[in-house]
Structure formats: C-alpha cells, structure tokens
Symmetry: D2
C-alpha cells in the first residue's frame, strides 16, 4: 500500500479550519443563519451535550455485492503528522441523516464518487466517542460524540475536495490489520472491523 503525501501547507487549503480533525462537520460556515451555531457556541455545547455524527466506510463492490476494497482517508494534522480516518461529520439542525451522510460523502470523496446511500437508515454500528479513554473503544478529546456508521458503496471516482486529504483503497485484509488500526484516529480501527464484519468480509 503506497499513498501520495498530501500537501500539508495550510495556505493551499481553501479553509484552514475546515477540517481540523475527523469530527469536523463542514457546517461551521459564516452566515449560516440562526439555525446553526457559531464556533464559540459549538465549543461550549460540545462540553454539555452529546453531538450527533454520521460516519461512512466507503467500499467498492464486485458484481455480486462482495466488498473488494475499503476506502480509508489519510490526512495531515496541523502538526504535519499523518493519520487515517473515515468519512464523518456532524448532523446539522434540521438536516436528515441521509442529507448529512450525502453532504459529508461529497465533502470527503468529491462530487464524482457516486455513493449508493443505504436504503435502510439503520446503521451497522453506533460508535460512542468520549473525551476520556476507557469508556468505549472510541475517543474524541474535544467532545462526547455519538456516530451512526454506515457502509457506503461508491461507484465513481473519488477525489477528496480538501488538499490535506487522500483516499486510500485497501483490501479487507489490510483494512482490518493491526497496522492500519494503529494509524486510525480515535479508535476507528474497531469501526472498520465492525464494518467488515457487517458485510461478511472480516478475515
């Protein structure tokens, strides 16, 4: 598995704050109207309420529906470190889960990914992220987040919109490996394995 190093130069990114971490939501834009939160308000709420997220494990299927490739995002942190994550983001006020899932898939995979959104709104897994480790396999130091996770087949070409992101396709074996799990943010190695198990592709 080889990956091209994404450009860590913040100046190249259209919005340096747009995705400071995998739980960024792409919804904290200026002028979004009274229904949404300012950055400051969001920071305050994040220590008071569990925040709802959707998360997607992009996959490629063969003609019979078997998972042959798993998509994992590689991104550079503000410190220049490389970490792996999944498609994820916050559900906004008034937004359906499907709309949120579609929006984040387009944000992270580009407009030509042609994701097949699931017919069922029931996630394969619910990942509970807590600021402190030990409560669950998942951690997010910024907040208590509850993430509904879906396996999403994509049929087009993935081109992450943000320069700091790369999409890597892996075999199910590589995606489930200890090595990959060690590189994933917030314990998402467990989430990838649960995704593979849900589609009968866990080695």
């Amino acid at each position: 598995m080889t990956v091209r190093t994404p450009d860590p130069d913040p100046a190249d990114r259209p919005d340096p704050d747009d995705r400071p971490d995998p739980h960024d939501d792409g919804g904290r834009l200026p002028g979004v109207g009274p229904g949404w939160l300012t950055d400051l308000e969001l920071e305050q709420v994040r220590r008071r309420l569990p925040i709802l997220y959707v998360e997607a494990v992009p996959v490629q299927l063969d003609g019979l529906g078997r998972v042959v490739q798993v998509g994992v995002l590689l991104r550079a942190t503000a410190l220049g470190e490389m970490t792996r994550t999944l498609v994820s983001g916050r559900v906004l006020y008034g937004e359906t889960l499907r709309d949120a899932l579609f929006r984040h898939l387009e944000k992270d995979l580009g407009p030509m990914a042609f994701p097949q959104l699931p017919a069922s709104p029931v996630p394969f897994h619910v990942a509970e992220y807590f600021p402190l480790p030990g409560v669950s396999p998942y951690t997010d130091e910024r907040q208590h987040a509850v993430s509904l996770a879906y396996v999403v087949p994509v049929t087009g070409t993935c081109q992450p919109r943000q320069d700091a992101l790369e999409l890597t396709w892996m075999t199910p074996e590589d995606a489930a490996s200890e090595a990959t799990a060690a590189e994933m943010e917030g314990g998402r190695g467990t989430l990838v394995r649960a995704a593979l198990a849900s589609v009968g592709a866990l080695p």
Copy 2:
C-alpha cells in the same frame, strides 16, 4: 384492552414540569453540575442542534423469544388529554447509550421491571423527529431529535414512577392497529410497527 385512567390532576404530580411531553429527559434536575444544561440553555440549544434520544418499546416474550405483549405508555397531558407514547428520553453528556436506556426504562417502568438490555447497541430503527411535519413520519414541535430505538424485553413488574403515566400491555395486533397509531404522539405508531416488524411480529 382496558386501561385505568391516570389522574390528570397536575397538582397530584410531584413535578408538574417533569414530563411535559414524551421527549422529556429526566435529566434537567437542579444542581446537576457543569456538564449539563439548564432549562433555558436546553431550550436554546434545541433550536440549534439535533438532540440525541434513546427510545424503547417494552415487550414481553414467551419461552421461545416470541413477542406476546407490547407495552405502551398512556399519559395525561397538561390539558388533561390522554395520549400514548413509548419509553424515551435524552442522552446526557458523558452518558453511554446503555446507561441512558437503562435510566429511562427505570424512570418510566419503575425499578422492578427488570429490562433485558440488548447485547447489541445497534437500534432496530432510527426515528428522526422534526418540528415541522412532512420531513419524516415523526414530529416533535419542540426540537429536532434523533432517537435510537430498541425493543427491550422486560421480565418483572412495571410500575411507572410518575403518577401521570400508565403502562398498557397490548397484543401485537392491537399495538399495530390504526386505532392505536392514531393515539400515539409524534407519529410513534410507525415506530411501534417497525419494532414489531424487526422481531417478526408485525401482523
């Protein structure tokens, strides 16, 4: 199906504001510490963020695991009207889904219900409540709420803690009927049918 009429007199209720509607959370107590929200803050946040709920359809099983009875709550509104609802409530900051589910089951069914919490954290259904009708089958005029719904077998005796609540046991046929659906708050008739379908008991 017969039900005892619960006392609609607000004066008899220990806390008149304790359960103004089925989405009440049982967590807005005084002095709960900095991790939670005051009533005022909660009101403001409810128009800014989707609020995470858990919801339970209590059932009684026979020895082979088949659903034979479905528990539906009957309660008096502030106006003295009778409506039906399910066990539900908000997930608090720092609380796991299991803890929230257990807390609300105990609140609504009493300490002797002995609910069998699901081994799987994956809900059978995700109900999206919006303030305006038409976006989904579910409405909640106060807020945008996303509710993870579970079928929960109970093995003990249910005794709702709040005077304004009654638990009625119904057959799957009665629970799935149009008549029951018409009495349920916020479109929860659809949720009951989805619950029955998930356990193979939808007529």
Copy 3:
C-alpha cells in the same frame, strides 16, 4: 396502478414447467448433473427437509437512498388466476447465497435490471413457510421452506423473462396496503411490510 394481463397461454412459455409457483427454483433442468435433484427426488425431499430459498423485494431508490417504488410480480397460475409474489427461488447445492440471489433476480427481472446486490449477506427478514397455516404468517402447501429475504435496489429496466410474469411498481403505501396483501401468495404481504419497515418506509 395498472397492470397488463400477462399471457397465460402455456405454448408461449419457453418451459411450461419452469415456474409453476413462486417457490420454483429454475434449477430443475434435465441433465444438471449429479449435484442436483430430479423433479421426483425434489418432491420427496420437500417432505423431509426444510428447503432453503432466497427472496428479493426489488425497489427503486431516489438519489438519497429512499425507497420510492416497490416491485411486485404479477403472474397467472395454471388455472388462469392472477396472484402477486416476489422474486424468489431455491438455493442450489454448491451455490452461494449471492449467486442464488443474482440468478433469481435475473430470471424474474431480466438481464437489464442491474440489481445492486447487498453488501451484507444478512437478510432483513427470515420467512418460514410451512405447509399448514398457523405456524407462521407464511404458507407453502408444497413444502417447508426457509427464505432469506433481501431488499434489492434495481437501477435498470426490468423485463421478466417468463411470459406469465409481469412486474408492477407500486408506491410504498400501495405495497403495504391491505388490498395488495390480500393478493399476495403465501402471506408475502407481511414480508413486503417487513421490507418497508427495514428501510424506514413503512407508512
């Protein structure tokens, strides 16, 4: 909802015995080799063992994955009666569930249906058909059959290969109606409703 009356003339059908009922399997061809059963052997085994089937509820999705249309097969029985059924058929010896599902989808919907086989092999429902009514909602007078049922989005054009079959597209409301349920073979109205519930589209 309008349907063209399929031609019940046996002479027009490529194989008059090919689909005597909805549980036909398309696998009882002459000379299929030692791994399969003759018609006579199959008849005998059908009274001795539960027979494994796959079943599909074809659906059309909108761009966000919501079910907008449900496909129901209309066919003429040997007596000229019209009944409704779903895509279904037997799993053959040595055949994977995916292969069986794909084969029966192609048999009943034609080669241009382009079904999206599910990434997960877990069915949304398991329908147990018994010769005598009352054991479950599903009956099949010929046999004890256990059917793994899937919701399958189709993206192409459906053209049933067999003249005695028609595919009708219905809204979720029509598909879940009592009128449709009354026309469906073997209790499959319950199966259609369970399918709709599993994708959050049960009215």
Copy 4:
C-alpha cells in the same frame, strides 16, 4: 407440530458418535416418523441440497447488556483430538427456527442454561459452509450447509449433556484471538468475531 429432543442418556443413544462434528444435528433418531430422514438418506441428500442449520454463540451479559463472557465448546473428536466449536445443529422438517435453536441450546448447554432466545429471528450473520475451502471462510467436508447464527445470552448454569463436550467461558479478547480462531472447526473463528462485532464487543 411436535419435536422430540434427543435422549440425554448416552446409553439410550442409537449412535454413540452422535456428534461426529459440529454440524451434527441430534435429530437422526430411529422412529422419528416419515417427516425425517434416515442416516443413509441424509448422507445422500447432503450432496444434493444445501442443509439448513442454526448456530448460537452463547454469551454472558452484565447488568447493562454488555457481553462479558463468550461460551465456546471444546470437544474430543473420534481421533481424540480436541477442537473448539459453537452450539449448532440442523433444522428439522416442520420445525421453526426458534424451536431448533432452543433444542440445540438445550442439547449442548443442558437444561439449566436458561438461554434468552432472541426476539428477532434475523441472524447476526449467515455462515455458508462448503465442502471445499476457498468459496467462503467456512468449510464442512460433509456437506453444503447454510447456518443462521445468533448471539444468545444465557442466565443459568451450562452443563453439556454429551460427555465429549466441555463449555469454556472466555473474555471477548480471548474469544477473538488468533489462538482461539486456530482451534475452531470449519472457520468458526470468523463467526465468533462477527458475533462480537454485532454486539459492539470486538476488540
């Protein structure tokens, strides 16, 4: 519909090798009536039809429904080797999945295990066993078997009825380990991991 369970007295058993492998069914008793198969017939059918099984992963839960222990069967083969397996067995003609599941749980865990049969008949996984390796993760040299697998909490005391069987309780970590997987028959290490993933307990 009546189902006879196997006689727990070893002396009464017509076949001392009643469980030569994990796919044995405990249903091949003499005099079971015309609805069942003789040993010879079963052998013949096993090379002609996929055979339907149910399989159970016994677990112990804590008070909040979390899996804390996983039950794995240890048994001696005819050659004196020790291998690990799960509760499993064939579904008989006329038998519901719930009846079959209950019967095999009682056979393998004893009458005091008090298993909590699932409210939902939908399995967490469908394991497809083929005689030749490579088609799926699961193999069974005797037959093509399709097994509906369930996670089943037990609340009592497990005491396998058959002398050659032992039940071992393991932590989720041990049950999911490579070492355990290597000892499990027919690829069931994958099945145990899928079970743990389905309940959010996969490490």
